[in-house]
């Protein structure tokens, strides 16, 4: 059995406190859902690390090399001697290199974001219905702060519900059962 127990809170402080209590009670790392980025999440749930910067760096290096090679190789393929200057000239090719460095840096940053945020979520399988492996509460996009706990037994469900209610949850839902 795998259930998601979701507590809805009216304020971020209570949601954060509930998330901390869930983690302390050894019920796993809860997931927070909110209409705005919440401050203090990392103090409660631990530091988050992202691989996006590595994607950005790789994209920028790849783009820079590709840009220079594009300009240089095409110049060699169709040689156009001008005033005795070399066929591969650095000053103008640096501009192409620069532009493609930025272009691929941007593209790979987006790829890094999608990979690390695990998006798209349910895009092709069920855009009319949320992915059941990822709970969702629409109120969390408006004005509520949700704490989602993954439970694998009836005991843990009851324990999680109790912690969420004690922390001040306005409502506690079993999202899987609803779906």
């Amino acid at each position: 059995m795998k259930n998601f127990v979701v507590g809805l809170f009216g304020d971020p402080e209570s949601a954060l406190a509930a998330a901390g209590s869930i983690q302390t009670a050894d019920l796993g790392t809860p997931e927070l859902m909110s209409p705005v980025p919440m401050e203090g999440v990392e103090e409660v749930l631990g530091e988050k690390k992202s691989v996006i910067k590595r994607f950005s760096l790789f994209g920028a290096i790849f783009g820079g090399i590709s840009g220079f090679l594009l300009a240089a190789i095409t110049a060699v393929l169709y040689a156009h001697p001008t005033g005795g200057r070399p066929i591969i000239t650095f000053p103008p090719y640096l501009i192409i290199t620069y532009e493609l460095t930025i272009l691929f840096g941007i593209v790979f940053t987006v790829i890094g974001f999608f990979v690390s945020a695990r998006l798209p979520n349910g895009l092709w399988t069920a855009w009319w219905k949320q992915d059941e492996n990822r709970p969702y509460v629409p109120e969390a996009a408006v004005n509520k702060f949700a704490v989602s706990v993954t439970c694998t037994s009836n005991e843990s469900v009851q324990q999680a519900e109790a912690i969420l209610r004690t922390a001040g949850a306005e409502e506690v839902r079993d999202v899987t059962e609803e779906n």
Binding site: G10, D11, P12, E13, S14, E31, L32, M33, S34, P35, V36, P37, M38, V41, K48, S50, I52, K53, S56, L70, A71, T74, A75, L77, Y78, T82, P92, Y93, I95, I96, Y98, E99, L100, I102, L103, G105, I106, V107, T109, V110, G112, F113, F114, A117, R118, L119, P120, N121, L123, W127, W128, Q130, D131, Y136, P138, A140, A141, V142, N143, G168
Partner: protein, 451 residues
């Protein structure tokens, strides 16, 4: 509309923005149909006429082989500069006043770039060969010349268009998700696809923050490079008054200047016609007014430097081009530009002016008229007065060119009107961020108000 700003709640923002998308009054349809009809009549029909009868339908001829099409291209590229650039700078400097207005400013960037790219196709005369600028293996065994500033331009604008599109889209994903939950039918399907299954989890917010910041850091130098490169289309020539080392900063400052004025115009329209008066406030106009004042002083300084160095050089071609610009056939346009872009913006020194909506709107339009004139003068006065007097000539735009110029504004308006019905034109989650977080107690005050 709801009450005073300090009474706003998260749900108010949500409702107001969703309403701006799903509720459409007759005035919107009238505006959209009018803008679209003007686009057809003023832009596409004259363009098709030119395509059918040839580029001779435009007033461009030797020596003025560049005309209003290129002036429009520079103008629209310039107008694109403040949206994404300003948004990026204000994002990494953590300026919260940006949050209510940046989405529309970024849309302005995007559509200005689209219009600018179309102007290139209008200018080249035979747009069906535009793919020759792309580096791809072809039967002619030819490749683009990457030593040419025109190819720099192709690469820079492609990158900027891609970056700006991604930047506005990434920032909108949480809002698409919020709108998705409030819509039905085709709208729900569209926003479900566009929101990519966003749920607003702590991990998603964390990743979005980092990706968005990286994008901002990448786009700022890109934006500066784009208009520098546009300036090199001219400055890399050896034509008097164009061959200037100061052209790159001149173009960048001019671009940010006209773009900021464009933002003021767009903010006024959104405030007035989309009922966003609570989110786009006097504070925004005040800050944009200060920015306009600083930029106008910078722009004036560069113009003075350009005139002084031209005069001090003593080079006959340079002084002739300078005299022609200041006192020749196009002189009334030059002094109109100085009045609109150097003198009128000094009014922004007064707070009472900066916080007055209608005067700021009038000023922003005047600045952009002046900035278009600047671009026209760069193209027209230099090419018509080159080194040899027997190569001198006059350029006056034809009716086709004037119509297409007017049509670009209709095209931009059409695209922007479509945008406000698809994208949340005020960023919901970022405006919510500027508000005080909801508090635990008392229960009646469970939702916050703006800081």
């Amino acid at each position: 509309m709801h009450g005073e700003p300090n009474q706003l709640k998260y749900t108010d923002i949500h409702n107001d923005v969703v309403r701006s998308i799903v509720e459409t009054g007759p005035n919107y349809y009238i505006a959209l149909v009018t803008a679209f009809a003007l686009t057809l009549i003023c832009f596409f029909f004259p363009w098709f006429y030119q395509l059918y009868y040839g580029i001779g339908a435009a007033g461009m001829n030797h020596p003025s082989v560049w005309g209003t099409y290129l002036a429009s291209f520079i103008f629209w590229i310039g107008l694109s500069h403040s949206g994404t650039l300003l948004s990026c700078v204000l994002h990494i400097t953590n300026s919260s006043w940006r949050k209510a207005m940046y989405r529309s400013a970024e849309a302005m960037t995007l559509f200005s770039l689209v219009v600018a790219a179309i102007m290139v196709m209008v200018h080249v005369g035979r747009p069906w060969f535009i793919h020759w600028a792309a580096p791809y293996p072809n039967q002619m065994e030819m490749w683009p010349n990457f030593r040419s500033p025109l190819l720099f331009d192709v690469m820079a604008i492609t990158t900027y268009l891609t970056g700006s599109t991604i930047f506005i889209y990434m920032g909108s994903i949480p809002d698409f998700a919020a709108v998705r939950d409030r819509t039905r039918g085709w709208r729900n399907t569209m926003y479900s696809l566009m929101s990519l299954g966003w749920r607003g989890t702590d991990t998603e917010w964390h990743r979005l923050h980092w990706a968005y910041t990286f994008l901002a850091v990448l786009i700022i130098p890109l934006a500066v490079s784009v208009h520098s490169i546009v300036s090199w289309d001219f400055a890399m020539s050896i034509v008097p008054a164009l061959h200037q080392t100061i052209f790159a900063p001149y173009f960048v400052v001019g671009a940010i200047y006209s773009g900021t004025a464009g933002i003021v115009t767009v903010m006024f329209v959104l405030r007035k016609f989309m009922d966003f008066g609570q989110y786009i406030t006097e504070l925004h106009f005040d800050n944009l007014g200060k920015l306009l004042l600083v930029l106008s002083l910078l722009w004036t300084y560069i113009n003075v430097v350009e005139v002084f160095t031209g005069f001090y050089s003593g080079a006959s071609g340079e002084t002739e081009a300078l005299n022609y610009r200041l006192f020749g056939f196009y002189a009334p346009l030059y002094w109109e530009m100085i009045t609109f872009c150097a003198i009128a913006p000094l009014l922004c020194a007064f707070k009472s002016f900066r916080t007055s909506f209608v005067p700021m709107l009038v000023l922003s339009i005047a600045i952009n008229i002046g900035m278009y004139t600047e671009r026209f003068l760069i193209v027209a006065t230099s090419l018509s007065r080159q080194y040899l007097p027997d190569a001198w000539g006059l350029y006056v735009p034809s009716a086709v060119e004037i119509s297409i110029l007017l049509g670009t504004f209709a095209l931009f308006t059409t695209l922007f009107l479509l945008f406000v019905k698809v994208f949340p034109s005020v960023s919901m989650y970022e405006v919510k961020e500027t508000m005080e977080s909801p508090k635990k107690s008392p229960p009646a005050a469970s939702e916050g108000s703006p800081a």
